[in-house]
Symmetry: D2
Subunit: 369 residues, 4 copies
């Protein structure tokens, strides 16, 4: 029931291939009478746009979106919005050589195994370009969440072996690496450029945080909020792991250390990352995703062709040496979509209680923000 | 659309609270005419059963399941199977003291925030006891997968600060820690006992592996196989992170190192963890989940009551000092359910191609197993 | 994605076979903190109970339901409610003779074709007994709807060739035929008894009406309210058609006649049956379902056996000569479930508009009630 | 969970408004490697096209569709197909006068009640123009079904008071009324023209039939095949009722008459309309839908404006005097989508049985075709 559709109440369906005519999205379930901020969509698309700096792919796309339905006189009508970006700079001939080859680390082999017939150009549907539709939908979700006081930020916290030590969220968009730590920018840039020089690529870790989330979002047990978040983030290309709050460090912790105590001002710490039992606690929601080094590298590698014969490959085309950088707006978009969906679902049952047991959102004091 | 139901083609709905009358499951979409191996269900339930050793909770439950529907003369009929275990050893009075308190690290606060009215006894629905239904369904999914040559194993790879160094899967069920590494059993046991002595608890990491998975399972882009797996594993209680293949180590890797080369014998390495572009590759599927230290500890901690007034709490009741141990069969069950669902979905479109483009599963040589 | 689960926000999964151990239901998504009226559930179950009069099947079931989860101290907790009725009066040996025969008009052949292995006793899952779970869930949905001023009634409007001429809803439960027209009770009874005497059965038509429904329920285009209603009603056993408002008579009408004009007091007529463009209008929702004559008749009929060899059959067992009578509470239950689900879905988006464009339900004057 | 998406395994999402930029569809779950017959899509679109004859609306649309994704070198890739038709002949100024008025029989009032803000031009999303996307998707579903030997036909069986007496399916596309009965064409045309002369409109009934459907499609109990069919057909604009097989005539029938006996050649009659217990029987699937007379009529009618003040209205614009005629390809499309979806779902569980209990489709002799 998923496939290319995400969400239950706020539903997003993306379509389009990297080197096809267009990539786009249908958004269904978005509330009516909402004044769309088109500039806000534009901003998000520019953040994920290729060609922003030397650290990302040099493909040139203006990323001009067009709204085909669901908006009338600048406001949503409650019917599905179809929003699309036409592909412009598709140098498909770059891919003629690898038409019959499986690029290591790519989805070439698995798409071939599953579908047989595939659009190999630029990774087709498995390309990061598919995320254009997600970023558009995420931008709208962010605008909706903002009405409820919910804000989402994201940044790079690790590139290769360089980790952020302290977080200055305001600095993220002021450095081309989107590092949360201004002091690590130079070292991170070095990590990327070194990899590129060596005809290689490098991985990274992104952190996304949502603040202002009211307690109560999430639908246990399979619709847990953290379950939905990791599913959403994992659906992004190149992601190999996701963690919430203390994440993998929890393995070596004691309960007395991990448990977040509470007092009149709320939670004293946030090892739980804003989610307990699958339901938002009101503390900031904190998620981290690891993005593997870009699979497309110009080095020679051993692989197979579609006849399953051994071949040597070296990938040309224009690629991000560190895909984590452009992954930030994508990860934020997915978090926004999950929260928008969870908010609508929670409002349904909250609204149903109006006649017999009205229940406003519980307010805690605030240690954390 | 999720809530308490998991899966699209193979659908599982669990119900029941820790100290209610029963916990159970409805399984829908399971193929007909399948001879159920009841002993196999029993075995899995015994693996997750409390009271197995001193390292787990001392609650005594025989975990005798009863089949109420969907099976006739030992075989499935294709209609929903309802299978249930009656709760036996519920000492609900243990919980009277904490009726109005939010146990730190528990879902008490968030359930209260969301639902208002809740069954506080033993965590109610947020208890690990809810997983009884998952393990039953997972046992059946395993039996179905076995017909396709797919096998699932799981074990503990880290307890507190002790990590497994080498893997001997055959040893997992022969040590009470379910460690994959027989050489670390003593140190792991020490880690758990030390924590218990200090009235504390400790975290851990579980690894689950599926072998024999044919290439082609998974439905990009939001129904990616890894997206479904992390969602399923994250829905288990106490899990704070999930990774596939190289996982978080990919951040510090280079593309040339991460990319798994191929030759006539298949993949030479398995950093991708058996999934590329969200679709199974035929290599073993490898996932790791981090389980936080048990929240219920007898130490005093600061918290709030339902009036949001500060209080001190120390949790009694019978609890696992390291919940990762009993988490192994739960994690295996969730992986089995994801693969069963993905298999059915893939068979649908594979079957549809029969008249115009029949497509058997692609066979690779085997480096890995 | 449906199978045995109905609804999106208010989700109902039924399980159980006619001659199995039990029939029951899991209800998920029902709002928390709701005080359950168990007597109300009992009442609805008694209305669909066999053995009420000579006009229905003589199977004796007390229909005592038990709540296994999701309710604590008399109130819902927001977690799934599992409610079940154990089967008592199962004379399965009545069915030994027809084990290998396909009863004409029954699902025997199609279940065999689809599943191969089946529980033939009493129709198994295809029995009207499956509706016990629906009636339980519908009773709860009715209780929720009542908080919003929505009420549902149902009655028989045709038995065989006898049609109701005027409607006195208050009389429905005072006659054993559940006829809406007290003046036709005698003729309808005659129709049923005549059929039974002739070792035959007879069809009928049920009408269900929901009043107090606010305008705005329903999710175009595939989630239209009438689309959901006909789907729900058609899922009941023996139903062969469903219509809304003017229904099939609209074929012979002119637009000027069909269109319901409006004035300050609302709609002047209700040919639209309370739904326009798939969305509730505030006028009463009116649906009619045709129930075919019971398939099980003692007369000899030609059929096949499971070897596809010609055979003669005459069905024994205890059966309703006119299944429309007991179909009334079933049809009401399904209408209640659809409206409960649509209400929750509508509340989600209504609630989302609170911060930017609050939208209370539109009030019309009332011509109709 | 539905809204603008239909289907579980074969999923269709439509978007677009009557007077917006375009109307279109995203099709997800369609099997890969399928050679698309674009001419077949064109043919179906021309059948539903306005302006075909004097009996339908005079809006002029060429209905040229464009494929934006999911097809590569003429074959499906298994990824979502987005197919769209740009609107051309939108005379939106025709609607300026009724901007604030609720046209009787239309969705104007209910959309206003639900959404507040709406695109009133030409009915916006509630227009029959939305069905362009359905017909495109239905055309593809028909092509897929054809590979399994399943064919779908449809025709008009009643216009106003004129009913078809005998069926000659081959004649349907040879008369502008799409009547199944060539002998009633003249009378039907008279019925339409008379209505138009009187500035009025007239209703009708459409019958759709699927042949070659193997036994076993449909997922009881809520995913019954007839339940899915009536839901799909009811989602079309202007439909007020749906019936299967004997339909509403079953009310006055006896069981001995209604039950379809079987012999070695299969079913002797088809009162069940090809579906028993919600599962296809192998006999032709027969469904009828009633289409109300077009709501838009030039006559004066009483209504309200958006301030709920009484007003008089007479609808201009270009409208079908009998919308049943163009409804035929729409109804066929919906039946094709349901069967395509049910086929994929059935193939999933059939395929799963391959290793332990392979089950080919059961073959009956054929009385009926």
């Amino acid at each position: 029931m998923t496939g290319n559709t995400f969400g239950s109440s706020l539903r997003v369906t993306t379509f389009g291939e990297s080197h096809g005519r267009a990539v786009g999205v249908v958004i269904d379930g978005f509330p009516a009478d909402f004044e769309i901020d088109e500039a806000g969509i534009h901003t998000e698309l520019q953040r994920r746009r290729p060609g922003q700096s030397k650290l990302v792919t040099q493909r040139q796309e203006r990323e001009q979106f067009e709204i085909f339905s669901g908006v009338y006189e600048g406001k949503t009508t409650g019917t599905p919005m179809m929003i699309m970006v036409f592909n412009e700079d598709t140098r498909s001939k770059d891919y003629a050589d690898i038409k019959d080859l499986f690029r290591p680390g790519h989805a070439d082999f698995t798409y071939f195994a599953k579908y047989g017939h595939r659009d190999y150009r630029g990774g087709g549907r498995a390309s990061a370009r598919e995320s254009v539709g997600r970023v558009i939908a995420g931008a709208l979700a962010k605008q909706l969440l903002a009405k409820f006081g919910i804000a989402i930020v994201g940044g790079v916290v690790q590139v290769g072996r360089v980790r952020a030590r302290h977080y200055v969220w305001e600095q993220v968009e002021r450095n081309e690496l989107r590092s949360v730590d201004p002091d690590t920018v130079t070292a991170m840039r070095e990590e990327v450029e070194q990899a590129r020089k060596e005809r290689d690529s490098v991985g990274g870790i992104i952190e996304v945080v949502a603040t202002g989330v009211p307690p109560g979002l999430g639908e246990p047990v399979f619709g847990k909020l953290d379950s939905a978040i990791v599913s959403a983030l994992m659906s992004l290309p190149a992601v190999k792991g996701v963690e919430i709050g203390a994440g993998f460090t929890a393995a070596a912790m004691r309960g007395s250390e991990m448990n977040d105590e509470m007092d009149a001002s709320g939670f004293r710490s946030n090892n739980h990352g804003g989610i307990l039992g699958g339901i938002s606690s009101g503390a900031p929601i904190v998620a981290r995703v690891v993005v593997k080094p870009t699979s497309s590298i110009p080095r020679e590698q051993q692989t197979l062709d579609t006849q399953l014969q051994p071949r040597t490959i070296s990938t040309k085309g224009r690629h991000d040496p560190c895909v984590a950088i452009r992954g930030v707006p994508m990860a934020e978009a997915m978090l926004a979509l999950v929260l928008g969906d969870a908010l609508l679902q929670d409002l349904a049952t909250r609204g149903a209680r109006e006649p017999y047991s009205p229940r406003p959102y519980l307010k805690l004091g605030k240690h954390l923000d």
